[in-house]
Symmetry: C2
Subunit: 335 residues, 2 copies
């Protein structure tokens, strides 16, 4: 089946992630067959879809999209048997995942792709009980799956490369931004990064260096604003001035040894330095640092407005009271 022909998605697991996927697929016009063994699963799933639906309506529903296309299935087999693709979002318990994937394998049609929302396990850790490992792949979303574009796709060594390509195209057609990893990395990419930040934050709280509120304020008022549109690499590419990342690494490289975090820095070998610089150049794609600075500033203003920190089209939120104009009569000696 071509990814374009998918009509029915089975969503296994009705927690925050599974419920978010369910709402998303419904909004994109798919039929969804959902299953979760919890006795109150239907009420919980309904509440999750209720919470997501206004946002999805605002973003825009696909033609024909309807909440009525959700079918709650008491038995896993009923959910999976009628599906063109399966999205598994069960709790992060390895034994549970293994047994569940084996059960899905037994119930799903022979060529149906099974994607797991796991946030940390590699597929090769979870597919130990399945007969058809070639169709199992990780499709890891971010909360909420119905608004955050990213899905990280990673197969096991036993996954058919065509399945990896198929699920990437399926997610793309469903409106997601797909990051296909070449190999299994524990925590994939984005989770590793946010987990490093999260662990540092926990250390700071544990040591009384910052409160929960200070940590959140620091991110939201500071680097978090940039990360909405420039990643950490491009951010530092701009911190180096016109010299970009090369200048940044050559001048601030030694500070990598400073105890700014509990995470030890890698050795900044010439090879690593060159790779990071070259990557930034590729990303910049011909845009100069000045071009990127102008783009960044426009994006920052837009994000500040979008998050209510700057009224649309108006002056600075904390504009100080008028102050009288003064002649600038300093006898500065210009260089």
């Amino acid at each position: 089946m071509s990814p374009a022909d998918v009509r029915t998605v089975a969503c296994v697991g009705a927690g925050v992630i599974g419920g978010g996927w369910t709402a998303y697929y419904l909004a994109r016009g798919y039929d969804v067959r959902a299953h979760d063994p919890a006795p109150d699963a239907e009420q919980r799933l309904s509440a999750l879809v209720d919470a997501a639906w206004p946002a999805l309506q605002e973003v825009g529903l696909a033609p024909g999209a309807s909440r009525d296309r959700l079918t709650m299935c008491d038995r896993l087999e009923d959910a999976v048997a009628g599906a063109d693709v399966v999205q598994e979002s069960a709790p992060e318990v390895l034994d549970l995942k293994r047994a569940l994937l084996a059960a899905i394998d037994a119930a799903a049609g022979p060529h149906v792709v099974v994607a797991s929302s796991t946030s940390g396990y590699g597929m090769s850790e979870m597919d130990t009980g399945v007969v058809h490992p070639e169709r199992f792949v990780v499709g890891h979303p971010f909360n909420p799956p119905y608004l955050i574009p990213l899905v990280e796709v990673a197969g096991s060594p036993r996954t058919d490369p065509d399945v990896v390509a198929w699920v990437g195209e399926f997610y793309s057609r469903a409106g997601k931004s797909v990051l296909v990893l070449d190999a299994e990395v524990p925590g994939f990419v984005a989770n590793r990064l946010q987990e490093a930040l999260w662990r540092e934050a926990l250390h700071m709280v544990a040591n009384g260096e910052a409160s929960v509120e200070q940590i959140d304020a620091a991110v939201v008022q500071g680097p978090g604003l940039r990360w909405a549109f420039h990643g950490p690499m491009l951010t530092f590419h701009l911190a180096g001035g016109p010299g970009g990342m090369a200048h940044m690494l050559d001048h601030f490289g030694p500070s990598l040894l400073s105890p700014w975090t509990r995470l030890e820095a890698p050795e900044l070998t010439p090879r690593l330095r060159d790779e990071v610089v070259a990557g930034c150049d590729r990303e910049a794609g011909g845009r100069s640092v000045a071009d990127l600075v102008a783009e960044r500033d426009a994006s920052l203003i837009a994000v500040l407005r979008a998050t209510g920190r700057l009224p649309a089209g108006s002056t600075h939120p904390d504009a100080p009271a008028d102050r009288p104009e003064r002649a600038s009569g300093w006898a500065g000696e210009d260089t």
Copy 2:
């Protein structure tokens, strides 16, 4: 002098940060006296202000704000002697900082507060040569200082607490979001957090686990979107479902031991667990997880629109082609 009466700011150092501060203070209606020993400092500073000014104009200039209020001073003493407050933004070289702060101390009026933009040194490391350590304080901005609200304020043990309070009020009046730290922490708060993420990213590049572009895409399409308005704590508060952070920590705490990052996790003691949960509750300030979810979704949509990933008021950017409506005729057995 009251923070409200400040008219003239000395900006020492005309790199990316010093130039950004200069543009910001000019836009907020201050007179700025700038100094940098580089022979081409004036041209560089002018270029930096040129680059920043369109954004500052769009955000809105303070009454009377003018680029003409910038005075370039060949000698440090000339820049500092006429200032009501000093913002030092010299390169991150400790010996240089120490000598420079001593020179500023000798040239500045007796009660003038001196704030350093240092991104990593504590003031107690830098004030070794000054006669009046009580007026020296860190005021650490984020790039670009003219748009990112956050300034982290931290005194040394010798800093007068009134000076810490004074500079906090000065920055607030100038339109910044001020985070006052109780004590010196290397890298302060936001830098520690972004540095942990950055180091993990460098490790991934060094080990071939992800490319520069993949790292940036993962952040920008994933968790970075959330960090523009919810910090890492509140983000995970919402990942736990209705149970919030308490549920999150109690259920996913064990995965802290997973090798998702090279940064070792702290022990999740009951005390740390309770502190993080209580902090999230304080931050939520009576807003339920459902309230926060609704706010998050609205913010996410606004940020996606602001960053061009969702056209204003239109449908989903990657809406798949129309697909025919189908009756949902599955015989699902509802629970």
